[in-house]
Symmetry: C2
DNA sequence: CGAACGGCGGAAAGAGTTTTCCACCAGGGG
DNA sequence: CCCCTGGTGGAAAACTCTTTCCGCCGTTCG
């Protein structure tokens, strides 16, 4: 019946053994089966083309081989790098990755988590920065609690403050170190492409940058801080607004690389030369963007590694009582998009 | 027992109805349930926090809500763009995407397909070019036949010749059109970054380009055709070899954008200016690479759309007897990386 | 030499749904 | 007044495995 699928029972019958024995030979590992029967079963299974029904196994074992991966947008190289690490780690363990994309909708994130729960996913990696809004964070925390309460494991990338293991880049220090480097080049007037106001990651990078400026006694003109989408086009748009309003900055810091890319495009379109007219720096060191010219000065994050590490955390058996946090520091990578400000 | 999960039976008992009724209210749609009981059931389900067990449903219904997506490398923007389209289409249907990465190993591709079969995936999208090798293609075709024979559906992106629906870019014509444009600019001596010798996509683009040259009476110096990996680093390396051997070409065509990116980097490192010293063109129009400078002349493929379309094909109910092929044509996009050859 | 034991095979009880069939009830036509 | 019909609820089989428990056999210890 079952649309042509061979069942374990058929294999057992073909081999002349019981269901239990067939199961023990082909899947279960707990108990030994005698050489003779073992061979008969494997031969039958092979001959009939048996393939275990994963759903039935999940149901019977009450644990699946699924690992969830939730990202905002898989086409964004930031997330696809993380995804690459996650899949590598999961596939190493013989697990299967379920990919969900939120499109940056908190509601969708909850739905996905619930779907994964209904599939009894063994673990979930949640990538993508949280907003600072109380309400959605609380609901997400609830959903996470339910998930872990049911025996699932969760790890987050870049989302501190949730009740789960977390791999979190040191955004503040990375941005601060970058700021110090730029100050060292001689810059004093900065413009900031700050991203969305409510995005945690954006805010942390901003804060770190700002703190370093303050420490150096540098004021930041509020008109030089412009908010916009966390995307390439957001960077482009923000930069146009900045230029339209007129700016005295000699250096522009975009809180991520894709925004910086948009900024460079906008500057180019405006006939400005980087770094001669304006220095530009980003954050993340997206691999695909390493070939931009001029090369983008940025803060390198080991994105694939972060994905791998998150997956490892989520899959580790030693369920620590307290959520662990792995902090990863960024490394300032100096390229040609930044230079000393031209005199004047 | 079941690690805290609420079962349908508990809901039924709580609502004072039978299992069948509860199932009909909460999941099945075939039959009507009276208003009173319906409300009681939904109320109980909500109160107890019921969430259906997807594995049990898959088992009982004998069809799952999983859609497989197999790519070579999710960090490659080519694949992540396609993946973005596939996930969008799948999520629109309320389905869940299972992501598998092959690392370009044919063996791994077979394993993944088998895993997806064991999960009773409803459909699979297979992205990534095939090699021209008979043996692996045959085995893949076998596996695909088994899959579809069991009621699954498969669609391929960019892999003609398999027994499945296919979305295939018109690589030959795209490359030919690009060649004609370049010839129109005045180029006569071309160098080709040809990618791996055994990769179907690479070969088709090569052939199309070559055909257009021949049609224009242009000879291609075999020493100007260099093979290498289909990656950014492959492009870099191939270009270095080309330069080391010395070349008289005025225009370099890389069979995909990421190789072209590597080529531009290598040229830059060699102190050559694009397009003054050498024009460069690619293929794909990867979104993330649109901000390179100089802008890369290339052939645009609607990658996300191709992923969506493949998913739609794989999910369409009207299982046509014969595999369908959707051909998508590329559009030459002219940017600054190509120019007329400098006199001399 | 009897009893305890260790190893291995099988029967059967789940795991959580869906779905088929049957039963019941009210209403309408003969 | 009886029978058939249409609508609704329930009992139970099915889906495919895993795993517990039980029984059998041949050893080995006391």
């Amino acid at each position: 019946m079952g649309s042509g699928y061979v069942t374990l029972e058929q294999v057992a019958r073909h081999a002349g053994v019981s269901l239990a024995t067939a199961s023990r030979v082909l899947n279960g590992s707990t108990r030994q089966v005698g050489r003779t029967l073992r061979d008969r079963v494997t031969a039958s299974a092979h001959e009939l083309g048996y393939l275990a029904n994963a759903s039935a196994q999940t149901l019977a074992r009450n644990t699946s081989s699924l690992v969830g991966l939730i990202v905002h947008d898989i086409a964004d190289p930031y997330f696809s790098s993380i995804a690459s690490g996650v899949t590598r780690a999961a596939e190493d363990e013989g697990l299967v990755v379920v990919l969900g994309t939120t499109g940056r909708t908190p509601q969708r994130e909850l739905e996905l988590l619930s779907t994964l729960r209904s599939h009894r996913a063994r673990a979930v990696v949640l990538a993508g920065s949280r907003t600072v809004e109380e309400e959605t964070t609380r609901r997400l925390a609830d959903e996470i609690a339910t998930f872990t309460g049911r025996g699932g494991r969760i790890a987050c990338v870049s989302q501190e403050g949730l009740p789960a293991d977390t791999v979190v880049p040191d955004n503040r220090n990375g941005a601060a170190e970058l700021a110090r480097h730029l100050i060292g080049l001689g810059h004093r007037r900065f413009a900031l492409l700050a991203g969305p106001t409510n995005l945690r990651t954006a805010r942390d990078r901003l804060d770190g940058f700002h703190a370093a400026l303050s420490a150096a006694g540098i004021e930041l003109d509020p008109r030089n801080v412009v908010h916009g989408a966390f995307t390439r086009d957001g960077g482009y748009e923000s930069t146009r607004r900045l230029l339209a309003a007129g700016t005295d900055a000699t250096c522009l810091f975009a809180v991520n690389d894709v925004m910086a890319t948009g900024a460079m495009a906008a500057l180019r379109d405006a006939g400005l030369h980087v770094p001669r007219d304006l220095s530009v720096a980003g954050f993340d060191d997206i691999p695909t963007l390493r070939d931009l010219t001029p090369g983008l000065t940025t803060v390198r994050l080991p994105l694939e590694w972060m994905g791998e590490e998150a997956a490892r955390l989520a899959l580790s058996e030693d369920a620590a009582e307290e959520p662990q946090t792995v902090s990863v520091s960024g490394e300032v990578v100096v390229r040609e998009s930044t230079a000393a400000p031209t005199a004047g």
